[in-house]
């Protein structure tokens, strides 16, 4: 053979190989799509989780029911192993009394649509009554000063900026007042906080979420008010700056309790010790059904395994579903899983150094071998039409994933960009694990998020299925081509 021909032929053969692989991938991905869109098991499971179990605040009996339900559901799928990972969680309860009332004389009291912010202390039985100081942001609070704030209720009314395409950017600007408002206000002597709900919607639904109390500041109670009533309150305050508000809350923190991450695995046929972790969180706020946040993500993760199983796709690596506990309050499940992953990585390194084996005969054996994360995907941005993935990884890894774009684009997955992932998997960051977040259409998410409006009825079958497909296709590619 002519010498010059050799590299040309090699190039040609490699190109052919590449094209054949692409063709095969495209066919498998098409099958995954058809299965994801044709089966409604996940949708019916989500209905059960949302309407039969309902809101699932960590520490509640409901979330424990959901843990058991998740375990049973995974077990019924005939996986290689299903187990619970214990973690301690906070136990806060809203209680029965949540009142935010504008007093304008006894006859014309106006009750606002409001709810306790998660983790808030309660008031005493009589509640508290005080004048209101409205501020737009922390700077305005500072400029008003302690003299004018002491003994009053601070009302953070920061309206959303609609000129963000991605609504999480708008939410980020709003949520800080809910999370940190109490400490700022208390440090100026305020006795309570009202926060305009962190949403772009204009309606009567208050949106809860978590609060963080610093240890150094007096704890004061905090409530979120619906956006419509926020604007009403602002109007009334303009008309009567001295008006008084009554706040009555029976929320309370109880001793910590035991709960669990739920883990289910399909062991890898070639590298059982290498893990692709996928997951969402099972806990949710109590006032809704936790449908988009994050029943959808849990269901989609479980569905990935169902699809692999139905299509008899034998992954080379272990596919591990992690149903995280306590994303909403303190991410205790995420921390627990992060510690476990770190330990397992160390065991993996030693067993690899010692010559290693990758034969898994059971869970004990598996833990002895250790495991190494190839990648992790979190689904926690709502069950809407997916656009792609946000990738927290090295530039090389991001480019590799972007190389799969042509396979994903026919299904609307156009966006494979470097960016953040999610709070449940970011604990794996120090281990150098490539982290991905499923990115769905964000336009409607904060209309429902953390409110009584986050119900099963707001989830569309096909949108949920498309998210499942996106996860399954990405897992297929990560498994086949590694990282």
């Amino acid at each position: 053979m002519h010498k010059l021909l050799t590299p040309i032929l090699l190039f040609f053969l490699l190109s052919c190989h590449h094209t054949i692989a692409q063709k095969e991938d495209s066919l498998v991905i098409r099958k995954i799509f058809t299965e994801a869109m044709s089966d409604s098991t996940g949708y019916h499971n989500l209905r059960y989780l949302c309407t039969r179990i309902g809101g699932r605040l960590c520490g509640s009996p409901q979330v424990e029911k959901a843990v058991q339900w998740s375990k049973t559901t995974l077990e019924a799928m005939g996986l290689d192993t299903v187990w619970l990972q214990e973690c301690k969680v906070r136990h806060w309860e809203r209680g029965n009394t949540e009142e935010l009332v504008i007093n304008q004389g006894t006859s014309s009291a106006i009750r606002l649509h409001a709810c306790a912010i998660g983790g808030s202390i309660g008031t005493d039985k009589a509640g508290l009554k005080a004048k209101v100081v409205e501020v737009k942001d922390f700077d305005e609070l500072k400029s008003i000063g302690r003299k004018n704030i002491e003994g009053k209720i601070v009302y953070f009314n920061h309206p959303p900026d609609p000129a963000h395409y991605y609504t999480f950017d708008a939410y980020g600007e709003l949520a800080q007042y809910r999370v940190y408002g109490v400490d700022y206000a208390a440090s100026y002597g305020a006795i309570g906080v009202i926060v305009r709900s962190a949403t772009l919607a204009y309606d009567d639904f208050p949106h809860t979420g978590v609060i963080y109390y610093a240890d150094t500041v007096q704890k004061i109670p905090a409530m979120a008010v619906s956006t419509k009533d926020a604007e009403k309150l602002t109007r009334l305050l303009k008309a009567k700056p001295g008006l008084e508000i009554s706040m009555k809350l029976s929320s309370m923190e109880y001793p910590e309790t035991i709960s669990y991450n739920v883990i289910g695995e399909m062991w890898g046929a070639v590298h059982p010790e290498k893990v692709i972790a996928i997951g969402g969180h099972i806990d949710s706020w109590d006032i809704g059904q936790g449908a988009h946040d994050d029943g959808a993500g849990v269901i989609q993760s479980i569905e990935v395994l169902r699809i692999f199983s139905t299509l008899k796709i034998k992954p080379a690596c272990t596919i591990r579903v992690v149903i995280f506990m306590d994303e909403e309050m303190a991410q205790r499940g995420a921390k627990k899983y992060g510690e476990f992953a770190k330990e397992q990585e160390e065991v993996y390194k030693s067993s690899q150094a010692a010559g290693g084996s990758n034969v898994i005969a059971g869970k004990t054996k598996q833990l002895q071998l250790g495991s190494h994360h190839v990648a992790a995907i979190e689904a926690d941005r709502g069950g809407f039409t997916p656009f792609g993935f946000s990738i927290d990884a090295t530039d090389d890894e991001v480019r590799k994933i972007q190389g799969w774009r042509d396979l994903l684009l026919p299904y609307g997955l156009y966006s494979l960009e470097k960016g953040g992932s999610g709070v449940d998997i970011r604990e794996l960051k120090p281990l150098g694990v490539p982290l991905l977040a499923l990115v769905p259409d964000s336009q409607r998410y904060f209309d429902y998020h953390h409110s009584a409006n986050d119900t099963f009825a707001k989830v569309t079958l096909r949108e949920l299925q498309l998210g499942t497909f996106a996860m399954a296709a990405m897992v297929y590619l990560l498994d086949k081509y590694g990282m």
Copy 2:
């Protein structure tokens, strides 16, 4: 100057110019985005159109109210001209009686969720009663043959294929039975037709739509049944193949009436005789509110002019909103506009040949000058998060539009592909006009389309605004860079 430097310098200067233009475009598009997302005029207008005027079948008093409302709304915007373009339309009415009942003996009659298909003849007062032949498609009908069909009701039960990413592809497979089923069935001697609703949803809503009767075949009545009841009917037919169905319809065709396209223009500052037409259709089916189909498209088109006006963007070409009449029944408005465009193109050519002037002193003068379409955009695929545009144009024109992708991608407009446009603007195709269709997320469209479920409540403010933005940004680029 060294000779070699000249082309390099030229290239450099051109690149700079290109970069500066890109930067400027990006800033203007950002302004358009902010305005589109910050103003809810269009949303409130859509609310009025849907909830105050309601369903707007051509030939109805409601659609005439909507025409007047559109005209008044455009006039209030201080445009250069607003006018009505007369066209004749069909006038069909559903009437008060729509019954589809399974007779299983008098005590257990089951009334199905069903409605007349648009344009169907009625039955006589007593209705008709007959046995049912269920078929999946036209081939099955043929194989069953006249002997087994004569005197019976044909039931087309073609389930949707969920494995299309783009739901319009699934719809296309279903709609043929609704549109042409009557003629096929009648040609085999059937006396009535039932069609499974053309939707991917599984619920109790029947979906109407248009029917076409061929002149050569006996007209028989036709009804659409909800997908849930379609499956119920199938189950019952399996159990009792001989069961009888009663169909009673009071629908009727009345003499044709006069109606109108509504046209509003912002004249071009440089080329008033060159037109970018944008539009949607004002008529809708009677059983819903015509929110996604196509109140949204009408509102988004009007909003483009409001945004240009508010931001004081002076277009070089004339921006013409065309609010089309009668898309649902016979596209009479589209045909009328097509004829007008053709005439105006001829006048334009002669006036250009005669040295031309482009000073418009009024509508008469404008018509004397003629006009030439630079491009046309139709918005008639629902008010959902937009993904881009489908472009029916030459390859060069498509490539030119694709060259603007970087400007549109930050707003999720990733898809600028060659494809079909829409039935209201396709009449411009013979004139060689580049035609564009706004392409929104299609996942939910057919859940609502042509059903009582197509209501204002199903439209999300931000999704509607994003569609408006997409249209306005595209008009800005088409106006600036021509075609």
